[in-house]
């Protein structure tokens, strides 16, 4: 299987047919083949978290995942987080808290936090910090991002903003 093959990747519920060689990463397939450029290429070596996507419910690094191994998986990217034009509660709280400055790291943070909230609906502050470690932000200083995730967890529980 050294040559190109055509993969069928399920991205945000839509099937994409992508011709790729084994050495194509999921990040390259998403950005360069499916043109879903919301997932960012940062360090490209697993250190910054900008390329985080959700694969079968698990937040993973798309730059270190082979596209061929994502076949048959449910791939969720930042483009699939808003539903019917409505932002997710996490996206809303990011906006409300000013947790975005340049915005480059935001998709990675939102994907990491979305996977965490699906697993742990009421995370403590320390749990949020641990889950977001590995997502780097050079603008915000993290405080607002952590605040936004805390607020989103509160919203999903039906609590105050």
């Amino acid at each position: 299987m050294g040559k190109k093959t055509v993969l069928e990747l399920m991205i945000n519920g839509d099937a994409f047919e992508i011709a790729c060689a084994p050495n194509m990463t999921l990040l390259e397939a998403l950005r360069d083949k499916a043109f879903l450029t919301g997932t960012k290429r940062g360090c490209d070596t697993g250190g910054c978290g900008a390329c985080t996507v959700i694969l079968d419910g698990e937040a993973v690094l798309a730059c270190l995942t082979l596209a061929v191994e994502a076949e048959g998986c449910d791939i969720r990217t930042i483009e699939g987080i808003a539903r019917d034009g409505k932002l997710s509660s996490l996206q809303e709280t990011f906006v409300e808290h000013g947790a975005i400055q340049c915005g480059f790291c935001s998709p990675g943070f939102i994907m990491s936090a979305t996977a965490m909230l699906a697993e742990i609906p009421s995370p403590g502050r320390e749990e949020i910090r641990r889950h977001l470690a590995g997502n780097l932000c050079r603008c915000t200083g993290y405080a607002k991002i952590i605040g936004a995730v805390e607020a989103a967890a509160g919203k999903d529980r039906g609590g105050e903003k």
């Binding site: 299987m1 050294g2 060689a21 084994p22 050495n23 194509m24 990463t25 390259e28 490209d44 070596t45 697993g46 250190g47 978290g49 985080t52 698990e58 937040a59 993973v60 690094l61 270190l64 995942t65 082979l66 061929v68 191994e69 990491s112 965490m116 641990r130 889950h131 470690a133 590995g134 997502n135």
Partner: protein
């Protein structure tokens, strides 16, 4: 950064992996990919073929066989971290798995992959462009080790977190290969040489880690010192275990292989553990390792850390 070209296999069973690995040369196992794919992007490793473990049945999960705990090699570090039984019986393993990279690395990375993590050095864990300013070092195809300035030698440092924890728990490995399955103590996995740090033969790969029941009858702890508290490789990592009047200690980040501190262990065997005896043991810790300046941290600093982390870990379980 594109990955170099390779062929890719995804066998469904252990026998399929063994035969795919044994065919031709230059094949490597791909588990979580969090170490290997980074090295491939940097052109530190260029295998011709990757044999993926993603679809292999029966090498993932945690089970009991009599009183031994068997952990499949493809079990993720996250699955280990989330297993409350493992956390209760083998705190050092839990703490070590928890300290690897970020939660994304733990969700992707596997136990076997962590044990087989490649050694590290400031001269080759760099981009291809960075490495162009001097001749290639011995590890990546050149002649000389830039750390020591000697030909045909490599002193790169083993930096996996989980191995020292499993060493003090006296864990062994189940290995599949062309000559059938075999068992070996974990310490036998490591050659102690930087260029080819593992002893696995062609076609061989780890299928499971076995922790003997006796390991659960002691207390254990892993202490890691790294520059960043969030995600980082250890500058030095120390695992300790105490039970039955004996003490075991093992280290990562100090030599080409993870090492057991046998002088330290002998000094403390059967002794009462007091501040004075722990200090005596701590002073012997560095004898276990030949620390090379493969990172930006001075050798003397690492030597001292070995003792400091030992005392810290022992106090936490006293």
């Amino acid at each position: 950064m594109h990955l170099p070209i390779f062929t890719h296999r995804q066998p469904a069973d252990v026998a399929g992996v063994v035969s795919a690995l044994a065919e031709g040369s230059g094949a490597k196992v791909l588990a979580g990919g969090t170490d290997l794919l980074v090295n491939m992007k940097h052109r530190i490793e260029m295998p011709e073929k990757l044999v993926s473990l993603k679809k292999v049945a029966d090498i993932r999960g945690i089970s009991l066989e009599a009183d031994a705990t068997v952990i499949g090699a493809a079990t993720t570090l996250k699955e280990i971290r989330q297993n409350s039984e493992l956390e209760r019986k083998f705190p050092a393993l839990f703490q070590a798995a928890m300290s690897v990279g970020s939660y994304r690395h733990q969700a992707m990375g596997t136990l076997g992959g962590n044990l087989c993590q490649n050694t590290r050095c400031r001269f080759f864990n760099q981009s291809w462009q960075w490495r162009q300013v001097r001749s290639l070092c011995y590890k990546v195809g050149g002649e000389e080790c830039h750390v020591i300035g000697r030909k045909h030698a490599c002193f790169s440092t083993y930096s996996g977190d989980v191995a020292p924890a499993l060493l003090v728990l006296d864990a062994s490995l189940r290995i599949a290969g062309p000559d059938g399955p075999r068992e070996a103590p974990l310490s036998a996995l490591y050659s102690g040489e930087g260029r080819t740090p593992l002893t696995l033969g062609r076609g061989e790969f780890i299928t499971a880690v076995v922790i003997p029941g006796a390991a659960a009858r002691g207390k254990s702890r892993y202490e890691k010192f790294s520059l960043r508290g969030s995600i980082d490789f250890p500058i030095v990592g120390a695992a300790v275990w105490r039970g039955d009047g004996s003490v075991r200690a093992a280290y990562t980040g100090v030599d080409c292989a993870p090492v057991r501190a046998s002088e330290l262990e002998a000094e403390l065997a059967g002794r009462e553990l007091t501040d004075a005896s722990l200090k005596r043991g701590a002073n012997l810790a560095h004898k276990a390792a030949k620390i090379a300046p493969t990172s930006v941290h001075p050798v003397t600093f690492k030597r001292e850390l070995m003792g400091v982390l030992f005392v810290k870990a022992m106090r936490a379980i006293s």
